[in-house]
């Protein structure tokens, strides 16, 4: 069996590489993010369709527990829930190159490619977020309330049956 031999300079380069990663890693987990957009809510799951747990005002500081795609799992007022990244339009400082994100589920993005990728997707939550920032008078919180109204399937079936309608 061949033995793997490393010359000394390689060892030093490897050590320097590791040190660079450790130093430049943003603290994605344990990071505190400040909400800068109005009408934000904490959700039980990373999905706007859920019933919001509670509103999160501008200026609120949230402890980040983890991240999945565009959603942050956060702790706020003794509650744990999910908030969309539209609440923080600017990429959090120091999180651009996070070791935690490299080994986690979140994509690594840089601002420039973010902008281009964003444009490539057309009308997205990020575009909505920028529009909301420009037009704070728009009633998005009420739209969220409308979307939160859900008729459970069993309730709908009972309603249909009671009205002699087609199931």
């Amino acid at each position: 069996m061949k033995r793997l031999l490393l010359p000394k300079p390689v060892v030093w380069i490897a050590l320097l590489g590791l040190a660079f990663l450790m130093v430049s890693s943003g603290a994605a987990w344990g990071e505190v993010l400040k909400v800068s957009q109005p009408d934000q809510c904490l959700y039980p799951d990373p999905d706007f369709a859920g019933q919001p747990l509670l509103p999160v005002p501008v200026g609120a500081e949230l402890n980040v527990l983890s991240q999945a795609g565009d959603w942050f799992k956060v702790e706020y007022q003794d509650k744990v829930g999910w908030i969309h990244r539209q609440a923080f339009p600017a990429p959090p400082a120091g999180s651009k190159f996070s070791l935690g994100r490299l080994i986690g589920v979140a994509p690594v993005k840089e601002t420039k490619s973010d902008e281009v990728a964003l444009a490539g997707k057309g009308f997205t939550p990020e575009v909505e977020s920028a529009y909301r920032q420009k037009h704070p008078e728009m009633k998005f919180a009420e739209v969220d309330r409308i979307e939160a109204v859900r008729i459970p399937p069993a309730q709908l079936q009972a309603f249909i049956a009671a009205g002699g309608l087609q199931p």
Binding site: G17, L102, E110, F140, V149, G163, G164
Partner: protein, 287 residues
């Protein structure tokens, strides 16, 4: 020492491809979109996606709510959603990106609005003008048909939508200074286009006729009496001379609409179930 070196080499072998892999993932879209920018003229006519329609519709709804307050009555809101969901599931487009949602606007004005993606508003004035659950279902089925036919989205000017698509090219992003520049303006312009159609000018006569046809089909499949739509149109036409603005502008009730609906209705017996539905409507809406 040799063991340490081997372990270190393995760590680097594991970590470095991960770093490079992610960096590549961040760069790749740029190349892909740069290509899109080159071929933008060819792809300018692509259709709006369901998720884009949803975000556009949310913004249109948010804008409508700046003009009309939301009617805060849990029982009525739940009931309107029950009727709305009953018809939506039998429509030609039973599913949208985030589903259908129904809400009541607190105004005496008689009108209804279908936002792209499936948020549908009925005014308290129109709700009170309905005499039965079947008439309410007829209004909601007509609005669901506008969503299914994408009439709101289709009111975005072709020139603007072409520009939206071209703005998605990397070249345009560079030219306009990123997404915060042009794409937001185009989003805003598209909201304006849809809002003006929904609230100010109304749909085309062709779109209204198609929505009526869709509503009759949906009502029949759901088990509601489609005659309710004809009754409602007749009622609106009778008010026609005195009625102005609201639904009389955005969904003008006309004799050709009524004739089409009547021609489509094959049989419309009043059933005991319809009477039950009317009773629950009166208990909840006409408190």
């Amino acid at each position: 020492m040799r063991n340490h070196q081997r372990i270190l080499a393995l760590i680097m072998l594991l970590i470095l491809p991960t770093v490079w892999g992610c960096a590549a993932a961040a760069v790749l879209p740029v190349a892909g979109i740069a290509t899109t920018g080159v071929t933008k003229a060819v792809q300018a006519s692509r259709e709006i996606t369901d998720s884009e329609e949803y975000y556009l519709g949310r913004a249109v709804a948010a804008r409508i709510l700046t003009q009309y307050p939301l009617y805060q009555n849990h029982q009525i809101t739940t009931y309107v959603n029950e009727v709305g969901q009953t018809v939506a599931r039998k429509s030609s487009r039973p599913e949208t990106f985030r589903g259908y949602h129904f809400a009541v606007l607190d105004t005496d004005e008689i009108n209804a609005f279908a936002c792209p993606g499936g948020t549908i508003f009925i005014t308290r004035g129109l709700l009170n003008s309905c005499a039965t659950e079947d008439q309410l279902a007829a209004v909601l089925a007509h609005e669901v048909a506008h969503v299914a036919n994408k009439d709101g989205v289709n009111s975005i000017s072709k020139a603007r939508w072409t520009e939206v698509w071209t703005a998605m090219g990397a070249e345009a992003v560079r030219q306009y200074g990123g997404v915060a520049g042009n794409l937001i303006n185009l989003f805003e312009g598209s909201i304006d286009d849809v809002f003006k159609t929904l609230v100010v000018n109304g749909y085309s006569r062709t779109a209204e006729m198609a929505a009526d046809a869709g509503a009759v089909d949906t009502l029949t499949k759901a088990g509601y009496n489609p005659q309710a739509l004809a009754d409602l149109l007749e009622q609106m036409m009778a008010r026609g001379k005195s009625g102005s603005g609201g639904i009389f502008t955005t969904h003008p009730p006309t004799s050709d609409r009524l004739a089409q609906v009547k021609a489509m209705i094959k049989e419309a017996p009043t059933s005991s179930a319809e009477a039950k539905r009317t009773n629950r409507f009166k208990k909840i809406v006409q408190l």
